[in-house]
């Protein structure tokens, strides 16, 4: 168990810059989820921490010790891979014992640790099998077991759930979280799945084009996204974005779609007429008599809730999420409650606070 400090880490492959200076401080026992779309650099960051890639510049410290120049073996980490990367020619038991044998632990200690981890994961019955005789979920558990027995300072997870079917993924997700809490090992978890990120992480790192767009707790990211990218990435269905301009001396926004909305939390700095992007989550759009008329072009009933797609008078798309079954009508009067608005700079996409 240890803290992890990533300072100013950059990575370039030739002229291609993949990471532009990542700073991240992970506390002892914390679970950090790195989330982002494909190609945002999240896996590269994880591999740099693991020592499988070399950073172009920057420093990595595990428990205060600089490890940038060390081999993966010397960093005292364990990693769970997307395709599990089990040793195909070894039994489950040998797979888990391999790292311990290399460390020269006494045989009795190895047996004890393997048995303990197997018990923890419920794979005692599989110890003599080989990986190809296991199902996807079982392989996943063995890969976890191989990481656990090492008792490392740091767990690294590289999209370990993405090869599982939907039901198993939800189950393993909860299991990983429970296990991580119980063992209290500092963990980095990479995923492209925002639900996985929200449910697993103590804090999230939302990566975008080689930058850490925001580092915060899941709820903070959901409630106060740092920019339009983060706002659109976290939350499902994705946040609606509407164009507008600053009005009434910074106290309101004049939407392109028509209405002028007063901010609930105070004025924004900036000149009259400055372009803004207003974000509102589908579940926050209110249905109110006398509101803007939204003609619906698609209704998605999900049972407990309904997702409605429509176009505002100005032509902007709007998604509304309602609790309960689908309404019968072909259009809906909608309103945007002032306290649910997210205000972003129309040019840079950065969040504007009062």
């Amino acid at each position: 168990m240890a803290s992890l400090d990533v300072t100013g880490v950059t990575k370039s492959f030739g002229a291609t810059h993949v990471l532009h200076g990542i700073n991240l401080a992970v506390e002892d026992g914390e679970m950090i989820v790195i989330v982002g779309a494909s190609g945002c650099g999240k896996s590269t960051l994880l591999r740099i921490v693991a020592g499988l890639e070399t950073a172009t510049s920057g420093s990595i410290r595990i428990a205060g010790r600089e490890v940038a120049a060390l081999e993966p073996a010397e960093r005292d980490i364990a990693m769970v891979f997307q395709n599990y990367a089990l040793y195909p020619h070894m039994t489950v038991e040998q797979n888990m014992a391999y790292g311990l044998k290399i460390r020269g632990l006494p045989r009795a200690e190895i047996t004890r640790r393997v048995a303990e981890a197997a018990g923890l994961l419920g794979i005692e019955a599989l110890l003599t099998r080989r990986p190809r005789q296991l199902s996807g979920g079982q392989r996943q558990r063995v890969a976890m077991g191989r990481a656990i027995v090492r008792e490392p300072k740091l767990f690294l997870f590289d999209e370990p759930l993405s090869n599982l079917d939907a039901k198993l993924r939800v189950q393993m997700r909860a299991e990983i979280r429970r296990l991580q809490r119980r063992l209290g090992v500092t963990s980095l978890f990479v995923t492209h799945d925002q639900i996985e990120a929200m449910t697993l992480g103590d804090r999230l790192v939302v990566m975008h084009a080689g930058h850490a767009a925001q580092i915060a707790t899941p709820m903070e990211i959901w409630a106060r996204p740092a920019d339009t990218y983060v706002a659109g990435f976290i939350g499902s269905p994705a946040m609606n974005f509407l164009d507008g301009t600053l009005a009434e001396g910074g106290h309101a926004v004049a939407l392109k779609a028509g209405p002028v909305l007063r901010f609930a939390d105070g004025p924004r700095a900036g000149g009259e007429g400055m372009p803004l992007t207003i974000g509102i989550r589908p579940e926050h759009v209110a249905v109110a008599e006398g509101g803007l008329d939204l003609p619906l072009d698609l209704v998605e009933p999900l049972g407990s809730e309904t997702v409605l797609h429509g176009r505002l008078p100005g032509g902007e798309a709007l998604v509304v999420k309602l609790g309960g079954p689908a309404p019968g009508q072909s259009s809906l009067p909608v309103a945007f409650p002032a306290e649910a608005l997210h205000v972003f700079d129309g040019g840079t996409g950065k969040r504007l606070d009062p």
């Binding site: 693991a50 073996a73 395709n83 790292g99």
Partner: protein
């Protein structure tokens, strides 16, 4: 696989005919003739032949010359297989690393396979001939008494190296393909588990290559048994004395030079049985031992 059902038997037979005819003319007929011939004894002028049952086999197996050739073959094939596979594995491991010019390096390594055995032998002859060979002369000038035409051990060494050199390319291709099919993540997992490169090689890479290695072992043995005739013939002609006479070479000497057709046929039938046994072993194990 999809099964196609033909009406009647004429068309399928016609489609199979070219392959069947080739197999019949170039394998079944000569093999059959050899088996029949091995049961006969001809007079020196080839005018009469007499059925003698298994006497040819009994005589061959009792011959000290044949046993000597069998020993030579064992030494020769084992050395060729070990040398060719060892070298190929080393080169493949090097070529698997991401190095500059890897493609060029790989292509160059595959070239020797395209050289005909006799041509390869001539190449080695020009290198190692004691008086005109580049390396041969250098060895003699350095004070080493190098003459494979007189020294049986040197002759054996030379044919082993020349025969192995021819086979390295083939082994290299298979080893490289085997190495590249090992998932990179497995090696990374081993690295994180603390295994240094040498240990990774012995505990992960080699076991995962074992099906390939086993396949190559059989192929190399068969190669050393049968396909090295050209190399031996052009380099040493089985000599000096009978120092490099292998079983296949002895079949040639017996049948073509001594015109003892019965004995020569019996020897080739013995070789045929050997290669059938090797192939059977290969099919049995290959299908079982694949790991992925």
């Amino acid at each position: 696989m999809r099964k196609t059902i033909f009406k009647g038997t004429a068309l399928p037979l016609l489609l199979l005919a070219p392959q069947l005819v080739i197999t019949a003319i170039f394998f079944l007929w000569p093999a059959g003739a050899a088996i029949w011939q091995s049961l006969l004894q001809e007079d020196p002028w080839g005018t009469r032949s007499e059925f003698v049952g298994l006497r040819n086999f009994a005589e061959v197996l009792a011959e000290p010359e044949w046993r000597g050739a069998a020993w030579n073959t064992l030494l020769f094939s084992t050395s060729v297989a070990v040398l060719a596979m060892g070298t190929a594995l080393f080169l493949a491991v090097q070529a698997d690393k991401s190095i500059r010019g890897a493609n060029l390096y790989r292509t160059l390594l595959i070239w020797p396979y395209a050289v005909a055995p006799a041509v390869a032998a001539v190449l080695w002859l020009f290198l190692f001939h004691p008086s005109i060979g580049l390396v041969g002369r250098a060895l003699n000038q350095a004070g080493l008494a190098w003459d494979y035409k007189l020294n049986g051990n040197q002759a054996m060494l030379l044919v082993i190296v020349a025969a192995a050199w021819k086979q390295v390319s083939y082994n290299f291709i298979f080893f490289l393909a085997g190495l590249q099919s090992i998932p990179r993540a497995v090696l990374e997992a081993a690295a994180i588990d603390g295994a240094k490169p040498v240990r990774r090689f012995w505990t992960i890479i080699l076991p995962l290559l074992s099906p390939t290695a086993f396949f190559l072992l059989v192929v190399n043995l068969v190669y050393a048994f049968f396909d090295t005739f050209g190399v031996i013939h052009a380099l040493t002609g089985g000599g000096p004395g009978k120092a490099t006479e292998t079983l296949i070479y002895k079949v040639y000497v017996e049948g073509v030079q001594n015109v003892n057709l019965g004995s020569s046929s019996a020897q080739s039938v013995i070789l045929m049985v050997l290669v059938i046994a090797l192939t059977a072993v290969q099919f049995r194990f290959i299908e079982r031992k694949v790991h992925y």
